[in-house]
């Protein structure tokens, strides 16, 4: 019988040391809504569980120079209740708040959603669109990387052994900016995204001056679709521009057929969601 150890360190350094010392059998516990499911199904049997919810930096949302840093273990419910974050980044917050049920929201974190590294993770396309930065700490210190560089494949990240995610940085918002996230699920709740699409854009005098598009569940990792963003910049987000961006999204898709959707369906829906999400973001940007 392998004994599962549990530790709840109070500092990042301790957490990093614990994970680094566990020879790959250490697992971070934030909300646990993926970890406990994987343990139960026998997919994972960690030797050490490191609960990071006693670490201050990982459990708070701070504001820096007009931007936000979301601690990796902050729950979706806390994010949704924040005084300013949902107004600044409505798309990111709605994406995080779509993860699971209200019960799951009481526990699940954006950091965990990222680290679970599912191609269909709801928060990730919105974070990519937002230009969010992942803050990582390991035995060799701290480093940062854009969210779109975080994933290596389904269930795999670019974290090196012993590294843990500390937080997610959202940049300051320019005037006339807004974001939106839409996902397609067969039911109205409780499903994994068949396709997810995040759009963040800036409008000045009716013209789109900046745009980023993130897509989920259409490739081995969530994607930044630069061509789709480019198709929107410089336009008034008219039907032609939206159509071009939708085509760029469809072109970026490399999906699979599985129990949640077909290649054809996912590809089609990527375009549909881009158009709908861009319109919502634009409406929000206009106030």
């Amino acid at each position: 019988m392998q004994d599962i150890q549990y530790a709840a360190p109070k500092t990042i350094d301790e957490a990093v040391a614990l994970v680094a010392g566990a020879n790959g059998s250490g697992r971070i516990l934030a909300g646990g809504t993926d970890l406990l499911v994987q343990m139960r199904s026998g997919m994972l049997s960690p030797g050490l569980i490191v609960d990071v919810k006693k670490i201050g930096e990982l459990t708070r949302i701070s504001e820096e120079g007009g931007g936000f840093v979301i601690g990796a273990a902050v729950s979706g419910a806390q994010i949704g209740e924040h005084a300013r974050l949902p107004k600044a980044w409505p798309g990111v917050v709605e994406a995080i708040n779509l993860i699971g049920s209200k019960q799951i929201q009481g526990r699940a974190s954006a950091g965990g959603n990222l680290c679970n590294a599912s191609p269909a993770a709801d928060s990730v396309p919105a974070l990519i669109a937002a230009g969010a930065i992942v803050v990582v700490q390991g035995p060799k210190g701290r480093r940062e990387m854009p969210v779109e560089k975080f994933h290596a494949g389904p269930g795999r990240s670019n974290l090196t052994p012993g590294e843990i995610v500390v937080g997610l940085k959202l940049p300051p918002r320019a005037a006339g900016s807004a974001d939106a996230y839409l996902r397609l699920i067969p039911r109205t709740e409780m499903d994994i995204a068949v396709v997810g699409c995040g759009v963040s854009l800036t409008l000045q005098n009716g013209k789109c001056t900046a745009a980023r598009v993130g897509l989920g569940a259409v490739a081995p990792t969530p994607l930044l679709v630069e061509e789709a963003g480019k198709a929107l910049v410089g336009t008034t987000l008219d039907e032609a521009a939206l159509g071009k961006a939708a085509a760029a999204c469809r072109a970026a898709c490399k999906p699979i057929d599985d129990k949640r959707g077909t290649i054809a369906y996912r590809t089609k829906i990527a375009g549909v969601l881009l158009q709908r999400a861009a319109k919502i973001a634009a409406d929000r940007a206009k106030g």
Binding site: M1, S41, P186, R187, M190, D191, K259, Y265
Partner: protein
């Protein structure tokens, strides 16, 4: 409705088990524990079809904490003999193999061995140490593939029944059945319009929220006690007795509260295994399935193929109705194809009918009953075809059904002639409903469909014990799955003329009440209700005797009215009425305890009919169906407790909505179930749904003193076609296959677009 014919029947009192169930006090299957109990776990086949060459348990048995391991060798061979389980028939030879695989593993999830250990962790570790040598065989999942000549054969001994000459080669088609009325070809000759389509449905699971769970304790003297979640404690007793060669009186089965069943808890999976492990260890053994095990190894209902051909005259009269259905049975014969075929055209009065059905095995879990087993599959085909007919004839779909509706005196294609039924009344009620009369919201479309189920009666026992204070305990033997304690107590209160709160119903174990057939077939309020009425009448007979004794008159000179014994007439003399409480208090002096019994085989279950109306819209870009309004109309006989009757209609309708739009078993190319969890087996959640309106049409069943008909099963029959018919009217695309999930509906709309543009 409205007028108060009865004091209690038709009212909505609180259920007797309400407080227990809102406080967490009620004990369900997994809530039973005994000191020193072991944990049992099942090793399941990862293969869809494989010969079990050998099983080596030595390493697992050597693991500290492991107390016993069982395989098929621990269960005696059974005869090739069919016995009844709920609305389904099961073969003892097959059921012992379903409980524990013998020669072959026949589906992903098939039980192969089981372990009892001191902890769950040790039991799980032990499963990993059992070495099974499999020889993997080619497998077949879908029904039409399984029917092909070159399909992998599951059972070498199966020769298709019901075909002449008797086949010599083994087949996956276990049985062919046929029903006929009139002359089908002559009928079609009269047809001015013929509609013919082939439909498919996916297998769906009952989806009860409570997984199967059992605690078994076998004593050294051979006595066995079992606590488990089941729709029938007597069924569990019967199966365990047969499968383990135990006498029925040596097995005492206590049903826990049951967390949903819908037909899925009418057979045994864990119970014989837990008993065997307990026998081998001398300790109580508790076994609880995980949700994954529930999906992989317990009975879903069949998926199937239904080919329907309808012939009608231009004025909308059906002249011929023909249908062929092939239903998956799972790994062993016994799909509900017979019931489905009988229900197929039961709603309609047609002179010429032919229905042919095939029972087909494939490498899936053995199907179990699910709410009106078989009927929804056939109704998906028949009611969709009726809608096509209505569209092609330009007739209102309710009017088309009214024109052809079965009524009292209609002879069915499966034999019986209907007594008083309420189908026309349901159609009229639907037509007069606020829903049907309301204009559609822009962008929405409306569909309707009908449904039928026989309902059953069967063996029931009940007892009524009068307490010394005049309160009454009603003892029966059917697990209360949705409010039957309330309905039984209400009927007893009505008979006895006492307050409902003075009647306490309990669900007894197998040693404390006579045999009761299981909770299923919409039978409890009807059949066990009849036994309760009998028991209460038995008490009243006794009470009248006691009053007669006190008054020194003949029992015939006493009447029972409003809970009191009264003189039958002034000739008897002036006597103060004697209440039940007074008679109870004097029981010791008048002849001892006052008890009543009822035991019967209830005949005359009144069939039920339903009509469902749905408004929905379809997102053209995504194929997502949004149900906006839903009304379920049903002939419910007499609604004993209308709230629980409405609840049956609402719950059945929503299961049907799930069946229509999302639910399905998805298998990989290797025959592994890919969605064995609530995440990807998508049952409806609260936000998917509108209110489910209900219209209770009360056409009393003449064969029951209170006019009761079963109500639980009809409401799952119409929803799929109602939704399909609305989708067709919303999009112009007729969906033939279930589920109408977003990818499928989207693909169908995309495929139809160029065609529709060209038209």
């Amino acid at each position: 409705m409205g007028e108060h014919r009865y004091k209690w029947i038709g009212t909505r009192p609180n259920r007797p088990d309400g407080a227990d169930k809102v406080t967490g006090r009620a004990r369900f299957g997994a809530d039973f524990n005994m000191p020193g109990q072991l944990v049992g776990k099942v090793l399941r086949s990862p293969h869809a079809h494989a010969i079990i060459k050998s099983i080596d348990v030595s390493k697992a048995a050597a693991l500290p904490g492991v107390k016993a391991i069982v395989t098929s060798k621990d269960f005696p061979e059974q005869p090739n003999q069919i016995v009844s389980a709920g609305e389904m028939l099961v073969n003892l030879r097959d059921i012992t193999r379903n409980v524990m695989a013998r020669e072959k593993a026949l589906y992903d999830g098939h039980a192969v061995a089981a372990v009892a250990a001191t902890t769950e962790a040790i039991a799980k570790e032990a499963l990993g140490l059992i070495k099974v040598d499999y020889q993997v065989l080619p497998h077949v999942i879908d029904v039409e593939a399984a029917m092909k000549d070159d399909a992998p054969i599951l059972h070498d001994h199966i020769r298709t029944e019901g075909v002449e000459p008797k086949p010599t080669k083994p087949s996956n088609i276990a049985k062919r059945i046929a029903f006929a009325k009139g002359d089908i070809e002559a009928g079609f000759k009269k047809a001015e319009l013929v509609v013919e389509r082939t439909f498919h449905t996916a297998p769906v699971h009952q989806g009860y929220i409570e997984p199967h769970a059992v605690l078994a304790s076998a004593a050294e003297d051979g006595q066995v006690q079992v606590w488990c979640t089941t729709q029938g404690q007597f069924t569990v007793r019967g199966f365990c007795s047969r499968l383990l060669n135990l006498e029925t009186s040596h097995i005492r089965v206590t049903p826990s509260e049951i967390g949903g069943g819908f037909g899925g808890k009418t057979v045994v999976y864990l119970e014989p295994v837990a008993i065997r492990l307990s026998q081998k260890t001398g300790k109580p053994v508790k076994m609880v399935m995980s949700r994954e095990e529930v999906f992989r190894a317990s009975g879903p209902t069949s998926g199937g193929m239904v080919k329907v051909r309808l012939g009608a005259t231009r004025d909308g009269r059906l002249v011929a109705a023909d249908c062929t259905a092939a239903l998956q049975a799972g790994a062993f014969p016994g799909s509900p194809v017979g019931q489905g075929c009988m229900c197929s055209f039961a709603c309609y009065d047609v002179d010429h009918i032919r229905v042919i059905g095939y029972d087909v095995v494939s490498n899936r879990p053995k199907v179990a009953a699910y709410r009106a087993p078989g009927a929804p599959i056939l109704a998906w085909g028949v009611e969709s075809a009726m809608d096509i007919l209505a569209q092609e004839l330009g007739i209102d779909p309710i009017d088309l059904r009214l024109k052809n509706a079965a009524k009292k005196g209609t002879k069915t294609h499966y034999g019986p002639t209907f007594n008083t039924i309420g189908f026309e009344e349901c159609l009229q009620a639907a037509k007069n409903s606020d829903h049907w009369k309301s204009p559609l919201k822009p962008g929405f479309a409306r569909g309707i469909a009908a449904g039928f189920w026989f309902n059953i009666g069967g063996d029931s026992s009940a007892a009524a014990h009068v307490g010394e204070d005049g309160t009454v305990t009603i003892i029966s033997g059917n697990p209360d799955i949705g409010g039957s304690r309330a309905s039984l107590a209400m009927m007893a209160a009505e008979e006895l003329g006492i307050d409902y709160t003075k009647v306490r119903p309990i669900v007894a174990d197998t040693s404390s009440i006579g045999f009761n057939f299981l909770t299923g077939g919409s039978r409890v309020t009807f059949a066990t209700g009849l036994a309760v009425v009998e028991a209460a009448r038995d008490v009243v007979r006794e009470l009248k005797k006691r009053a007669a004794k006190i008054w020194e008159v003949e029992p015939d000179a006493v009447v029972w009215e409003n809970g009191e014994a009264k003189p039958a007439s002034t000739n008897v003399g002036q006597q103060e009425p004697l209440s039940l409480a007074k008679l109870a208090a004097m029981a010791g002096k008048t002849g001892g305890p006052i008890n009543g019994h009822g035991q019967l085989n209830a005949q005359g279950a009144g069939p039920g009919f339903g009509v469902h109306i749905v408004d929905l819209k379809v997102d053209r870009d995504t194929g997502i169906v949004v149900v906006d309004r839903f009304t379920a109309v049903q002939d419910v006989g007499t609604a004993v407790h209308p709230s629980y009757v409405e609840g049956q209609l609402q719950g059945g309708a929503v299961q049907g909505i799930g069946w229509a739009v999302n639910e399905e078993y998805i298998y990989s190319a290797k025959g592994k179930l890919e969605n064995p969890g609530f995440l990807d087996y998508r049952m409806p959640v609260a936000s998917d749904l509108p209110r489910i309106e209900t219209i209770l049409v009360e056409v009393a069943n003449p064969m029951h003193p209170y006019g009761v008909r079963g109500v639980g099963e009809v409401p799952i029959v119409p929803p799929m076609a109602a939704i399909g018919n609305a989708v067709a009217r919303a999009t112009g695309v007729r969906m033939l296959d279930l589920p109408m999930s977003p990818p499928r509906l989207s693909a169908a709309m995309d495929a139809a677009r160029p065609k529709m543009a060209a038209e």
